[in-house]
């Protein structure tokens, strides 16, 4: 003879489910698991059972015991919560975290650009924002009273230039004076990037500001060529704007490089500018006059240099239409990036 386990289980389940309070549940527990309970009765019947049934009966007793215990535990948990008056948490309520702040988009972009060049072996250098006539102009082959200065309208300060009698210190109008400082301080091979603020007295509108950021790059060694310049900047543009970016090197003029070029890019990632060539940087081979001002022996080195505008790149990359957004510092803008 064996037990009708299924019936017992049904009976247990019905009674456990019906237990509305912990007290009732406890009575159910006693009924099934207590000293005179059903499970005990099943174990008690074992010694008298026929030898052939003993194994089955033992397994049945164990199974019922485990079944009752599990059922009881589950019901008890529910009844306990109810007894405490507690409800289950609403797991869809918002999580709580200290919201991290944000890096300004200009500095994010600046660091991303620097990262790309650092991975290619360039080191970061910085130069002062308050500069001398020599570093900002003369050393870079930009003479006084020359139209090549038109592109470099400059803010002058009420501080005398220690290097040039009768001239005043100025706010650098490009990061290129950093080139000269690095070249005068260190001997080649050089591979540096110089990020920072630059200033030009431009009327402020959606695409102009009197303060913006540039990154200057300079690579000088015995055998640096224009082909290297093209290769380096192509590698940069692909890493930064994606492998699909289209580029062109358009001849241009900078007093401190020869040959000189501007780089235009085209990419579908630029909102509303698909199919348009967008100028993003100026570059060229370091002009021998610049080497001369740096005190390098004539003909010993060649070098490449480039400069790019951080605001412009950030605006293109993120679809920002107005440069003033950066200096407005509206919290909603800051938190977007």
């Amino acid at each position: 003879m064996v037990w009708d386990v299924e019936t017992i289980k049904r009976d247990v389940a019905a009674q456990v489910d019906a237990a509305a309070t912990l007290d009732v549940l406890d009575a159910v527990r006693v009924k099934f698991l207590g000293k005179k309970g059903v499970v005990q009765e099943m174990y008690a019947a074992l010694p008298a059972a026929a030898p052939a049934d003993k194994k089955t009966l033992g397994q049945q007793a164990n199974a019922v015991k485990v079944f009752v215990e599990e059922l009881m535990a589950g019901r008890k948990a529910i009844l306990s919560l109810q007894a405490k008056g507690a409800e289950a948490i609403d797991v869809t309520l918002p999580g709580v975290a200290r919201e991290p702040g944000t890096r300004h988009l200009i500095n994010q972009t600046l660091e991303e650009i620097c990262d790309v060049f650092e991975r290619m072996g360039f080191v970061i250098q910085r130069g002062p924002e308050i500069e001398t006539e020599f570093h900002n102009f003369t050393a870079l082959n930009i003479p006084l009273d020359h139209p090549s200065r038109d592109a470099f309208d400059t803010f002058y300060l009420d501080q005398n230039d220690p290097d040039a009698a009768g001239r005043y210190l100025l706010l650098r109008s490009h990061t290129s004076p950093g080139q000269m400082r690095v070249m005068r301080k260190h001997k080649p091979p050089l591979a540096v990037i110089i990020p920072g603020k630059v200033y030009r007295p431009d009327a402020v509108d959606a695409s102009h500001s009197f303060m913006f950021h540039q990154i200057e790059g300079l690579l000088i060694d015995k055998n640096v060529t224009f082909a290297d310049l093209k290769g380096l900047l192509t590698a940069f543009c692909r890493k930064f704007f994606g492998e699909d970016v289209k580029m062109r090197f358009r001849p241009h003029f900078f007093p401190f490089t020869e040959p000189s070029a501007e780089v235009d890019i085209q990419s579908d990632i630029f909102k509303g500018k698909s199919g348009k060539w967008l100028e993003i940087l100026g570059c060229g081979m370091v002009h021998p006059k610049v080497f001369e001002h740096a005190g390098y022996p004539s003909g010993e080195y060649t070098g490449l240099a480039f400069g790019l505008g951080v605001e412009r790149i950030a605006m293109l990359k993120h679809g920002i239409g107005d440069i003033r957004t950066f200096t407005e510092n509206d919290l909603r803008f800051l938190k977007q990036f």
Binding site: I106, F155, H186, A191, T225, A227, L229, F253, P288, T327
Partner: protein, 674 residues
């Protein structure tokens, strides 16, 4: 610079469509910014870089196109006119005017310019005036040499003098504006008065009119720098001035004069009644001979170009090229002052071929000869990263500030650096503090309903003894939202202090202390100097209501700190050394004290000094100020953690030391147990 494709046809048959031509020119360095249909003509607007004044005319552009398309150039033939008596010209300032050709043409009939030629001028945006004036403009745009025609009968004394203006001398220029001149400017004068500002604009009273019968045609070479300075000083520019300040071609002065003479004779009749060509120094500029060696192209471009191809390109551009062994010996044309060195020639060849048609390689960036101090380099980015992790948003404000805003912010430090040429009062000064700039940002955000702000900027301040990397931190409004806590609390002094301490501490900046202080920007009793080893590196505190009102910030507290990051970076301690993790349990004892006029920091120091080395930390649990304690007294609950490195501390030991410390506090300061 505008280029009329119809006009261009007079000099070259390039055989390209407008689009193709625009593309080729752009990719050779003559960027066609846009093209416009103008009747049966197409006009390009071309950006001419300042090194290429030779391209500021049709022939110059035609020469470029000849090189780009490898097609022949047709230059108009010009009759050579010779000097003849009849014109009286004196050059007083030979340094400023190296050449002056005056041609007197008599019995001219002033009429309209022929329609066909007038259309070409119109395509370039010029308004046709008369055959004489239009001829000067036509030749200006054809050859790039500015010309001027005087009505000879209106010149007093019948002579022209090239001289410096006298201080206060006046002239009414062609645009009907009276200009006051000075000695820095060059004029063309008659016997009595200036009749033209040299190289910039002619005078109204001696201009050619419908009744003019005798003209003197001027073609001259003026000093570029002098013209440029005068133009800037007068705030007056012109097509002539634009070319003179970039440099005109010495040799073209005569060619253009003769061309214009031919055209006037053809279109207005008359005859040459006199001509005087005054040349100071050499008649021709001495152009350099530039050697382009076989290795030069490879060295600069990283590739070779067939020397025959280079020769052809340079010849198309007007250079005289001879082959000298495996080098080229090149003499540029007089119009190309920008060609001086080998590199210039390589660029000419490269740009005509097209940079995009040259190969590229990845540079071999080897070991760089610059020591890298990563710790110092990363200091500021890491401070920024730490503040961001603490929930601060980085802002970026202008380096300049107005005097007014600085005053409003209560600035009372050294006189700031001033700008000589600010564009507005907003940029009058270089900021000596970030406070005003940051308050402008706080104000504008609050106005837009963003009242809970935690902002920082890591940038520079500018002081007469140098620019300094600086950190500004500002907080206002409530702490971050937590729906479990219900009402949010407002931030205060200790939020700024904590943020600053955490950011600096994480970078191992040692020795930072805070010393109560007063300043015009802060509320009395709510501010402190920030010191490192006794040196003031900045300020921290609650901004005064007056300052806030000045920035239109109402009904909220704003807390600000500003420190010199360069001093902070210099105080970075040595690398942290591993400290063995504690093996023995710690015991915590709290003490509640009533404190009068004693600083927490002093009490904390005293506790540590009297703990026989087993007091690991003293923490503040609570500060109480209010009704339940005597006036001028506050309650402090401090939590002391005792722990030894080598043993488990017994209750008795801890209690004895703890009670000893409390007794010491009570005995030393105005402190009692609560």
């Amino acid at each position: 610079m505008k280029l009329s494709l119809n006009w261009l046809k007079q000099y070259i048959d390039h055989g390209f469509s407008a689009d193709e031509l625009a593309f080729r020119m752009t990719m050779a360095g003559l960027e066609v910014e846009h093209q416009q249909v103008c009747g049966d003509d197409i006009v390009f607007e071309i950006e001419i870089t300042p090194n290429r004044p030779d391209c500021l005319n049709m022939l110059g552009l035609a020469r470029e196109i000849s090189a780009i398309t490898d097609k022949d150039l047709y230059i108009p033939t010009v009759q050579q006119h010779v000097d003849a008596p009849g014109v009286d010209i004196v050059i007083e300032d030979a340094a400023a005017c190296r050449r002056y050709i005056g041609t007197l043409i008599e019995a001219v009939s002033v009429r309209a310019f022929p329609a066909e030629k007038a259309r070409l001028l119109q395509a370039l945006g010029l308004k046709p005036i008369s055959n004489i004036v239009d001829t000067t403009n036509f030749v200006l745009f054809e050859f790039g040499q500015p010309l001027h025609a005087f009505d000879a009968d209106k010149l007093a004394g019948g002579r022209l003098v090239v001289r410096r203006a006298r201080k206060g001398e006046k002239i009414v220029t062609l645009d009907d504006v009276e200009r006051v001149l000075d000695e820095s400017m060059l004029v063309i004068a008659d016997a009595h008065r200036p009749v033209a500002i040299a190289g910039i604009m002619g005078g109204r009273d001696t201009a050619v009119t419908a009744t003019t019968r005798r003209v003197i045609l001027e073609s001259a070479y003026f000093d570029m720098g002098l013209i440029r300075r005068a133009s800037r000083k007068l705030g007056l520019t012109s097509d002539a001035c634009y070319r003179f300040e970039r440099g005109v071609d010495f040799a073209t002065v005569e060619k253009a004069s003769d061309r214009a003479t031919d055209l006037i004779l053809e279109l207005a009749g008359g005859k040459v009644a006199g001509r005087k060509d005054t040349v100071v120094g050499d008649r021709h500029a001495l152009m350099p001979t530039i050697m382009l060696g076989s290795g030069d192209v490879q060295k600069l471009l990283g590739t070779t170009i067939d020397p025959a191809r280079i020769k052809r390109i340079l010849e198309r551009l007007g250079c005289a090229v001879t082959v000298a062994g495996d080098s080229l010996s090149v003499v540029p044309p007089e119009s190309r002052n920008d060609l001086k060195i080998m590199e210039d020639l390589v660029e000419e060849a490269a740009r005509v071929i097209g940079f995009d048609n040259l190969p590229m390689t990845l540079p071999n960036v080897g070991a760089v000869n610059i020591p890298v101090d990563l710790e110092n380099e990363n200091f500021i980015p890491r401070i920024a990263a730490n503040l961001i992790a603490q929930g601060f948003n980085e802002i970026l404000t202008y380096a300049m500030i107005s005097r007014l805003a600085l005053e409003k912010a209560g600035y009372a430090g050294v006189a700031p650096i001033a700008m000589q040429n600010p564009m507005s009062a907003e940029q009058e000064l270089m900021r000596p503090t970030m406070l005003a700039n940051m308050l402008l940002v706080v104000g504008s955000n609050i106005n837009r309903g963003q009242k809970d702000l935690r902002l920082f900027e890591a940038g520079k301040r500018y002081l007469p003894d140098g620019e300094r990397w600086t950190l500004g931190i500002v907080v206002t409004g409530r702490r971050e939202a937590d729906w479990r806590k219900g009402k949010r609390e407002f931030m205060d002094f200790f939020d700024v202090k904590g943020a600053l301490e955490a950011a600096l501490g994480r970078q191992r900046v040692r020795g930072v202390t805070f010393l109560a202080g007063e300043s015009a920007s802060f509320e009395p009793g709510q501010a402190a100097r920030v010191l490192i080893d006794g040196r003031e590196i900045g300020w921290i505190g609650k901004l005064s209501d007056t300052v806030l009102l000045n920035f239109d910030i109402k009904k909220t507290g704003v807390y600000f700190a500003e420190i010199d990051l360069e001093y902070a970076a210099a105080a970075v301690g040595p690398h942290a050394k591993f400290e063995a993790l504690d093996e023995y349990p710690s015991v915590v004892r709290d003490v509640s004290l009533a404190v009068k006029g004693v600083l927490f920091e002093d009490m904390r120091t005293l506790c540590l000094e009297n703990a026989q080395g087993i007091l690991r930390k003293v923490e503040l649990v609570e500060e109480y100020r209010g009704d339940k304690i005597e006036k001028d007294t506050r309650g402090l609950v401090m939590s002391m953690t005792y722990q030894a490195k080598d043993r488990t501390l017994t209750e008795d030991v801890v209690n004895a030391i703890h009670e000893g410390i409390v007794a010491k506090l009570v005995g030393t300061f105005a402190v009692r147990r609560r």
